[in-house]
C-alpha cells in the first residue's frame, strides 16, 4: 500500500537540468518532429527565440526520471513493475529553450484506490531560478 502521508507534500527541487541543443535535436528525431525551430539555431533566432525551441513533450526527458526515482523509492511502496501512464497534461508558462537551467519540484497531489487500482497524481513545477516555465501533471496507475 503506497504511503498516503506523501499526499500534499512537495519533494525537494532537483536541478539544474541544462537543456542541451543536442538533447532537443535527439528528442525531436525520436518523435519524428522536423520543425526547424527545434533543429536549426539560425531559424530559431530569426523567429525571435534565444535558442532552439523544445518540442511540447520534451519535459518528459527530465521529469520522468525524477518520477521514476520517487516511485522506485521503497519508502513510498509503489508497484512500479505494473505501472501504466494514465494521463498527461503539460501547461507552458513560456517555451522550453536550449540553454535553460531548469529545476523540477514534484508535488504529490493525490492518491486514490478504486476498482483494484492505485491512482496517483504527481505534478511537476518546472522553473528557472527566475521564473516558472511549465507545469506537468501525470496520472499514474498501478494494481492494488
Amino acid at each position: 500500500m503506497p504511503d498516503e502521508s506523501f499526499v500534499g507534500r512537495a519533494l525537494p527541487a532537483v536541478g539544474p537540468f541544462q537543456v542541451g541543443r543536442e538533447k532537443i535535436r535527439e528528442f525531436a528525431a525520436a518523435i519524428g518532429d522536423t520543425s526547424p525551430l527545434s533543429l536549426d539555431l539560425d531559424v530559431a533566432r530569426a523567429a525571435g527565440h534565444r535558442d532552439l525551441v523544445a518540442p511540447p513533450t520534451f519535459s518528459t526527458t527530465f521529469t520522468m526520471p525524477l518520477i521514476e526515482a520517487f516511485l522506485k523509492d521503497p519508502a513510498f511502496d509503489w508497484d512500479y513493475t505494473r505501472m501504466v501512464h494514465g494521463d498527461q497534461r503539460i501547461v507552458f508558462h513560456r517555451p522550453i529553450l536550449g540553454g535553460d537551467d531548469l529545476f523540477t519540484t514534484i508535488h504529490v497531489d493525490s492518491l486514490t484506490t478504486r476498482a483494484g487500482s492505485h491512482m496517483l497524481t504527481l505534478r511537476c513545477e518546472v522553473a528557472t531560478a527566475e521564473e516558472p516555465v511549465a507545469t506537468t501533471t501525470s496520472l499514474l496507475v498501478t494494481q492494488a
Binding site: 518523435i31 520543425s35 525551430l37 518528459t60 501504466v84 501512464h85 494514465g86 498527461q88 501533471t137
Partner: protein, 135 residues
C-alpha cells in the same frame, strides 16, 4: 491563417516500429521494459511490447506543431492514454492515424481536439492542445 471552430488540420499517419521505441527510450530516458521486452510486457499483463504513451502523445502532437509552424505557440497539451499501441516485432510496426479539429477559438487561442486511432480504436482520450494563433 484563417482558423475557426471546425477547421480541420492536415492529417498525419504515424508508423512506430520496435526501433522507434528503442530510439524513444534512449531520447526520453524512459527505459521501462514493457516498451522493449515481450517477456516483461507479458508478465505485466500485456499481449506484448507497447509504445510509450508519451511517444504516441509527442508524435501525435506534430499534427498541431506542423500546422501552427512554431512549437512555442503551444500553450498546453495533454491526453489520457486510453488504449495501448501494440508494436509487433516486424518491419511494418504499428500504424496510428492522427486527425485534429479546432473546437474553439477565443482571444487568439485555438483549442484543438486531437484523435489518434490504432487498430480501429482511439488510443488518446480528451487529447487537447491550446495554441496561440499567429496575428
Amino acid at each position: 491563417m484563417s482558423v475557426e471552430k471546425g477547421t480541420e488540420l492536415p492529417p498525419l499517419e504515424l508508423h512506430l516500429t520496435r526501433a522507434d521505441l528503442v530510439r524513444y527510450a534512449g531520447a526520453s530516458g524512459d527505459f521501462n521494459p514493457i516498451h522493449w521486452s515481450d517477456r516483461i510486457a507479458q508478465v505485466a499483463g500485456l499481449p506484448g511490447v507497447i509504445a510509450h504513451g508519451m511517444l504516441t502523445l509527442g508524435a501525435a502532437g506534430r499534427i498541431v506543431t506542423d500546422w501552427v509552424g512554431d512549437p512555442s505557440r503551444v500553450r498546453s497539451y495533454g491526453a489520457r492514454f486510453t488504449r495501448p499501441v501494440l508494436v509487433p516485432d516486424d518491419d511494418a510496426g504499428a500504424t496510428v492515424t492522427v486527425t485534429a479539429v479546432v473546437s474553439d477559438v477565443s482571444d487568439g487561442i485555438a483549442k484543438v481536439d486531437v484523435k489518434a486511432v490504432f487498430d480501429g480504436k482511439g488510443v488518446l482520450g480528451r487529447a487537447v492542445a491550446e495554441v496561440v494563433l499567429p496575428d
